[in-house]
């Protein structure tokens, strides 16, 4: 059993490394255009809502704690602990997506979504549009990972409620927990790189 858990953990990490490279390519695009258009990047970043971004960072860190506690509950064989912590994780993940919805809605209202309705009166508008394309790409793919994570947690929650896990078998909880923490780590990098890069130059 223990060897099986180790093999599953290793396999999950190999998958997560492919995910690191997947996000890495998009971060590479971000870095490259930031080097080329630094002023547009600062201006674009200052349009983002730092309060909501910071709130979401906190929400994801909380969800990582509840996820870790869910795995721990499985390890000590506490079914109620698993159920409570998994529900909290799902709720916090949903809160993240709801906050993200309001952020996106704000961008639509302010004509900051790339496309025919983008506010071309902004300074360096074409390059700011590029910033927002990359903003929506990175946060959009991250949000898609959150949706997948919440789906995964619903499955694990159902299994936990049926008592499928014990202190000697909790591999699915452990492995989907790794995925959840990985998505948290992506946000840990997205928050300073997207929201905070121009904060010292005076927000709007």
């Amino acid at each position: 059993m223990e060897q099986q858990l180790e093999a599953s953990t290793l396999g999950m990490w190999v998958f997560l490394v492919t995910e690191v490279m997947f996000f890495g390519g998009m971060f590479m695009v971000y870095i490259l255009y930031r080097v080329l258009y630094p002023e547009a990047w600062v201006m674009g970043s200052n349009h983002l809502n730092v309060t909501l971004g910071a709130l979401n960072t906190g929400v994801l860190i909380c969800s990582s704690l509840t996820m870790a506690l869910a795995v721990r509950s499985a390890q000590i064989g506490s079914r109620s602990g698993q159920v409570v912590n998994l529900i909290l994780t799902i709720v916090l993940g949903s809160v993240f997506l709801i906050v993200k919805y309001f952020e996106y809605a704000e961008k639509f209202e302010h004509h900051l979504v790339p496309g025919p309705h983008f506010d071309m009166s902004l300074p360096e508008a074409p390059h700011q549009q590029l910033f927002f394309s990359i903003y929506f790409m990175l946060t959009g793919v991250h949000a898609a990972h959150m949706v997948v994570g919440i789906g995964l947690m619903l499955v694990i929650l159902t299994m936990a409620m049926r008592g499928r896990f014990s202190s000697s078998y909790y591999t699915p909880v452990e492995v989907s927990g790794l995925y959840w923490h990985f998505v948290d780590i992506v946000w840990i990098f997205l928050f300073p790189l997207l929201y905070l890069l121009g904060a010292h130059l005076g927000a709007h």
Binding site: G24, L32, H200
Partner: protein, 103 residues
Amino acid sequence: MSTEHAHVITPVRTYVAIFAALLVLTGLTYLVALQDFGVMNTPIALAVALVKASLVVIYFMGVRYNTPLTKVVVVAGFFWLLILFGLTLNDYMTRHWMGVPGR
């Protein structure tokens, strides 16, 4: 592999301490971003993010209790990422060093 790694259950207070550290570091990232350190703003922000990510990987994801093979895979993943960034920037940031014939 080694049996002493098995059944290591992290105490709740460790998780809570890491959680508190992550929140403090998030606050730190925000406060640092408000100060003007010139070109050092982004490196400082990335350093804090790297510390936060390491805390999540080592404690929440429990890599410290994993086998050496898993640890190597984890480190290799981030190493490949550095190769991706390093070699791409090596190309783009040195292109203007030499003139291109015919341009």
